[in-house]
């Protein structure tokens, strides 16, 4: 029998980026808030101090900061005709765990989506005809770029994003991204400085008629104090961002940017190692009464709350919705249902470049240290005769030179033996990678639902992922990879090794941790799980944050949009919901 806790105004499930943002917003509005985090408490100086943070084996390959699949995993298959099996070891995506979530070990790549990305279906039909979206279940977002702009800006100020605006209030700015939507303000900090690799790419891209600009970075180019009064340090280019925490307080993260503020609030409590099993509801199912959770001793608790916010990672939010029976579950075989629908990924290709005559020194790096072109992203280029929609940015992204992962050898060199060793010795310092980071558009056979066979440690059905890349995305990725190869040759490389998108989707090699969809937002309850304020259509005091809200994935890293949606939701709760609790959009 669950022990009943004292009721609070809001309970937040998961304490990463969006959990912390919602806690800050709701606490500042005077609400009593409890956050439940299933992982451990972790802070910078204890968990990833500079004295031992640069440890590739422990953090990357032994998964120190990642979800431990021994205790929590999901099952995976490529299509509904196959039997899904458990992901027994992390690979393709590296889910976070504990306080800070995946925000601890991200690169800090802070992107805004294009205005046209929020109208994926309408925009492409208008420009290219109905055939352009055939076979895809893409939808329009119920929010526009203009709706999110102030909230993107809030997140930039929170993180101290380093970059150069390309569009200020509609006026194109030299040195920035000319394709981006209008910004209301310049970046809070100037861009990072290029090392050799990004400098070579920027030069070659400009010479070939492209529009290079510095990657918007959550790695700070100078010391900074954010609007919450939290001080952050200047990045030292140590090259240990992605898959690592930052011991230097110079990578924006929940720990570095917001949690210290939230924890000072007297109306806030965080409970670690407290795993939520399900959302509880009134007998008619229309209101959430709170959540049931288990602590590490195995004891069960019920936390009553007037507002429930699911702020766990996208996959876990979808899992909790399905386990709680909220919303019609999606069946990838029939295409019916909504919770779990439009699960998408990110379509990645990598172009490795080698130089006989240049020392690149890739170990001097940072998570978002790159020169980028956006010429082939979204609808920034004419797709009329290409046979696909969507696109990718191409980035000379030098995040570091961790040698187990990043000792590259030119094409034709075997994976082991003397030839490998000699090539590794020669090219480790003379190579880097162009990242081709593309959109992922939804198709009917993909989705998330409950596994019929495998159960988790609490006896609940595991989440089941059915996913493969759509033909549209394969064409898109290859087209953009070809463009990256052309620019690579303009850099004067001695060799190029393209690592194109591989099909079927394979859970073994690391690709990206950008899994999205499943609790998508939309215009009506007939086409979506949540409304434009991240509010469940079925349960009006339930809000769902995260990339699960995306109807499909654009060609950018999702975090800034995830944060902007959380701020938009918090604003609606504060200014409208608290005055008149109920549906914020009339169905």
């Amino acid at each position: 029998m669950a022990q009943r806790m004292k009721p609070v105004d809001a309970v937040i499930v998961g304490f990463g980026w969006t959990g912390a943002i919602m806690a800050q917003q709701l606490c500042d509005a005077g609400l009593s808030v409890v956050a439940l985090e299933r992982g451990a408490a972790q802070d910078t100086s204890t968990g990833f101090a500079t004295t031992f943070d640069q440890d590739e084996l422990r953090y990357m390959w032994r998964h120190k900061l990642f979800q431990n699949v021994a205790h929590s995993t999901l099952t995976i298959r490529n299509n509904p005709g196959q039997t899904a099996l458990p992901m027994r070891h992390l690979g393709a995506f590296l889910l976070g765990t504990g306080v800070g979530g995946s925000g601890v070990h991200w690169n800090g790549q802070i992107w805004r989506a294009l205005p046209s990305d929020f109208r994926t279906r309408s925009h492409n039909i208008e420009r290219y005809g109905a055939a352009s979206v055939e076979g895809l279940t893409v939808q329009d977002w119920p929010v526009s770029y203009a709706d999110l702009e102030p909230h993107y800006n809030t997140f930039d100020l929170l993180c101290g994003t380093s970059g150069k605006a390309g569009n200020l209030g509609g006026a194109t700015q030299p040195g920035g991204n000319p394709f981006e939507g209008p910004r209301s303000a310049e970046f809070p900090n100037p861009p990072l400085t290029y090392t050799y690799g990004p400098a070579l790419f920027a030069d070659a891209a400009a010479r070939t008629g492209h529009h290079p600009f510095p990657h918007p970075a959550g790695n700070l180019s100078r010391p900074y104090t954010n609007p919450l009064g939290i001080q952050m340090g200047q990045c030292t280019y140590c090259g240990f961002c992605e898959k690592f925490g930052c011991g230097n307080y110079s990578k924006a993260s929940p720990q570095a940017s917001i949690i210290p503020y939230v924890l000072t609030k007297p109306n806030f409590v965080l409970r670690s190692e407290s795993e939520v099993l399900r959302v509880e509801r009134t007998p008619d199912g229309k209101r959430a009464t709170g959540v049931t959770y288990v602590d590490s001793s195995g004891a069960e608790f019920f936390q009553p709350a007037d507002i429930v916010v699911l702020a766990a990672y996208q996959l876990h939010n979808v899992h909790l919705m399905l386990l709680s029976g909220i919303g019609p579950p999606y069946d990838p075989a029939t295409g019916k249902g909504l919770v779990g629908k439009n699960y998408c990924y990110q379509t990645m290709a990598n172009i490795e470049v080698f130089f006989d005559d240049k020392l690149i020194n890739p170990f001097i790096g940072a998570g978002s240290h790159a020169s980028v072109i956006d010429d082939y992203n979204g609808d920034n280029f004419d797709h009329s005769r290409l046979g696909f929609i969507g696109g990718a940015y191409i980035a000379a992204l030098v995040t570091g030179g961790r040698p187990i992962e990043m000792t590259r050898t030119p094409p034709g060199v075997p994976a082991w033996g003397l030839d490998w060793k000699r090539a590794a010795a020669k090219y480790y310092r003379r190579s880097f990678n162009l990242s081709v980071h593309g959109s992922s558009y939804a198709q009917r056979g993909n989705g998330l639902d409950l596994d019929p066979t495998y159960r988790d440690q609490f006896g609940r059905p595991m989440l089941r992922m059915t996913f493969d890349f759509s033909p549209n995305d394969v064409k898109m990725s290859n087209y953009c990879a070809d463009r990256a190869i052309e620019i690579a040759h303009a850099m004067g490389v001695s060799a190029v090794k393209p690592k194109r998108l591989k099909t079927p989707f394979d859970i073994v090699p690391y690709q990206t941790t950008h899994t999205i969809g499943g609790t998508m937002m939309g215009a009506t309850p007939a086409d979506s799980v949540c409304n434009r304020y991240s509010q469940s259509w079925d349960v009006s005091n339930l809000f769902v944050t995260g990339a699960g809200l995306f109807p499909q994935n654009f060609g950018y890293n999702p975090t800034a949009t995830v944060a902007a949606l959380a701020y938009l939701s918090a604003e609606a709760i504060k200014t409208r919901y608290l005055k008149a609790p109920g549906a914020l959009v009339t169905a």
Binding site: S32, L85, M87, R88, R271, I507, V508
Partner: protein, 257 residues
Amino acid sequence: MTHADDPARGMIGRRQLFALGAAGALGAAARHDGMVGGTSERIAGTLPWADGQADAPDDAIRAGTAFLTTAERAFVTAAADRLIPPDPTGPSASQADVPDFIDRQLAGGFGHGEHYYLAGPWAKGLPSQGYQSRLTPAAYYRAAIAAVADHVGREHGGKAFADLAPTDQDAVLKALEAGKVDLGQVDAKQFFAMFLQNVKEGYFSDPLYGGNRDMAAWKMIGFPGAHYDYSEWVTRHGEPVPLAPVGLTGRPGWRKA
């Protein structure tokens, strides 16, 4: 509006909160990587933190724990030295103590499958579904090495892998890599991939884990190791960075055995 507090344990004063915070930090520091089941904490006011409790890598990783038998170690050493053979470019796998590294890894959390889901039911699965064995990595190594020994014995008149000529050793390894050898419950291709990965881990990881002796593998490729600050080198494009490599061991904040 109600207050966020803990009714189950009564109201907690501010002084008690700090005490709880300190206790929580001690609890967190006692956890090893990959463990769950630390004490659930009620956290307010600040994240638990206490001086000198940084979660540095566990000293047990460096202890002389061993998993491999003499025969298994002979295979690991011989095979690793074909993957990274000796030559003037840099050390071989065994010259870099890679077999020690692998032995300790198999004896520790990695070998125990600390980050593997191993519960059933089990099915063979598709290549895109990755590792589907019920065996821990250590047990997987044991089963694989025994099966390779049987295979080599049959093909080479009872000889052990370590006693074959290098060209024959390479032929065996290439057959494993291509999945052309039946190893029974072990998938040859998957075992080879795991072994190659572990060899490269031992070669290139921080020396505190037992491999990469004298940081010679880092010196060979020109990686300066666990440096904290490259700021002055950012704009010096194309210049050699003559910093001697550094490892983590002995740096401040280290938890002593």
